[in-house]
Point group: C2
Chain length 345, copies 2
């Protein structure tokens, strides 16, 4: 199928006349909107890769450039806030693209009436996160909109980094799939903070107290730079598992490579509090957002060294090999039980 035919198909697939919340899920509907509207209009070799960052050279310097808008509700949650998220998320988009983050921008859309004290708390949190990641906020923008035209505060951060990891080889059958830590903590924390879990303390009485649910937001640049240093040439692919969770990342990797990801559910690290919350909500932690976890694919030979490298870093202490790449059936994600892991809509 040519690129043109693919685009026509994607355009046809977008049957909605209006944008829905599903278009923001990070799953199939998001991809359809991106293909049918954004790639249709902007399509160019850099954008079409749909990587976490665009990589390009300027006067001999290899750069990565990325952007993300943050719209989380509530703005403050156990383990972090929108400010910390906005710094770490963009740092991580650069890090998984094999780049060392250098400078971030920060653009605020603030709703009229937003407390200045909250804005200070958010900016202080951004400063601390930027310090921890070793970046600065080099440029910014502030807009204020009328009441009801935003949700308190929306933040966009974009980032520029310098590429340290040369373009890697394609994923190959036999490659190992790792996650850098327990999954779903951020998404489960947000759902609980939103009150989507309509539960009292009881269901948590066996240790699953809500106190244990905290966002995993963290900067992954040092963790992933260590990995690249430890296993030169062995890292095939890195993605941070944000919207749509680990399952969505695996689906995208499978689709891009035309290979299959076979995942051992028992090997996936999930904290008891997260598992408990997900069971109550009837959702699979594999689809729940992380904000400080990456999925990493490395060559078979490097799997052990990669795992050791990740585990040597505090943010990778619970890293695990969760599966392997196979050549069949192409473009799919399967559990070891033989069941397919579906794409979310």
């Amino acid at each position: 199928m040519t690129m043109w035919e693919e685009q026509v198909l994607d355009t046809a697939r977008l049957r909605d006349d209006a944008v829905t919340l599903a278009h923001g899920s990070g799953g199939e509907a998001t991809r359809t909107l991106i293909d049918a509207v954004f790639r249709e209009a902007f399509g160019n070799p850099l954008l079409d890769r749909l990587d976490d960052s665009a990589r390009f050279a300027v006067n001999g310097a290899d750069l990565a450039f990325t952007t993300d808008s943050y719209v989380v509700s509530p703005l403050f949650f156990p383990g972090g806030d929108i400010g910390e998220l906005a710094v770490n998320g963009t740092v991580n988009d650069l890090a998984v693209s094999g780049a060392s983050p250098l400078h971030l921008s920060a653009a605020f859309i603030i709703e009229e009436g937003f407390p200045v004290a909250d804005l200070r708390r958010i900016t202080e949190s951004m400063r601390d996160a930027a310090d921890a990641a070793g970046v600065d906020i080099a440029t910014g923008d502030t807009k204020v909109v009328q009441r009801g035209k935003a949700d308190g505060c929306h933040i966009n951060t974009s980032g520029v980094g310098v590429v340290h990891l040369p373009p890697t080889g394609e994923m190959r059958p036999g490659d190992a799939i790792l996650v850098t830590g327990p999954i779903g903590d951020h998404g489960a924390t947000i759902m609980l903070a939103r009150g989507e879990l309509d539960i009292a303390a009881d269901p948590f009485s066996d240790g699953l107290v809500s106190d244990e649910l905290v966002s995993d937001t963290a900067p992954l640049n040092c963790l992933l730079a260590d990995l690249a240093t430890c296993c030169p040439g062995a890292v095939r692919r890195m993605r941070d598992a944000t919207r749509g969770g680990v399952a969505t990342v695996l689906h995208e990797m499978a689709a891009e490579s035309g290979l299959a990801a076979l995942v051992d559910e028992d090997a996936i690290p999930v904290r008891p509090a997260v598992r408990g919350a997900c069971e109550l909500l009837g959702i699979d932690p594999m689809y729940v957002a992380c904000e400080g976890r990456a999925v990493v694919v490395v060559s078979t030979e490097a799997a052990e060294a990669a795992l050791a490298s990740l585990r040597a870093h505090p943010l990778g202490a619970d890293a695990a090999v969760i599966g392997h790449v196979h050549d069949d059936p192409p473009g799919t994600v399967l559990l070891k039980t033989g069941d397919p892991l579906p794409r979310i809509c």
Copy 2:
């Protein structure tokens, strides 16, 4: 006054407990919020310059990096739409920083229920604007928020450019102040489109028809690159006159340099339709936003050549020398009549 004392003063000056629309005006209140909250938290040498872009070197490449969020209402207006604005605005922030824009990011926050047809119209407009400015949209992001949590569509664009103009000398007494074209067209158009001008066709019967009010949104990169080529070493300062208009730019230039800007009101190009609209609204066009006009300060000797260079380009055909830099009274903007041009709050 040390930087520390200055910050304490600014912090003290921010007496509001909540963010107000005035904090988004681009004037004094915006500056106070930026100083008391954003610089207070993020302060670093790049950000503290508060230039339109941050300039830094990466592996020998001199880069500029900028960000802007666009929240205009209505989204579509005579002469443009939010998409065109989002591309041109960021292109211009790079251009006035002496950089050639290379790559933009585009991040959308879309309100649930937003028509896909409008989104297509906006993205097509962005593509056309990007093509006209010679940039691509290299990376992007899409978020969807619930109804009532945004105003249809907010767009952030960030941009990376390569610096072609070395850091210029400081402004000096005698320097000429130019605008690249008639001022206030964008802001007057938006006010009319919003219905803030509660007028029928009559007041426009002497040629001031509303049809003549169209946004001036345009990419200034080629115009300003030509200027830099024509007058090497003579360009002191360039700013695009967006929020707060030409008056706000002049105030910032005066404050930064500790010099005075003396402006001849009669020399300022203002279209009759804009002048008519501003008279009806009781506002001075000097404070009305442009989206395709820059204020340029050049050395006395280069003034004539600079004007000729600007006028040789279609986007600078109506450029004019509007005043000169004086050394006294420091930090002020004066009209030729002797009246001060006040800062907006």
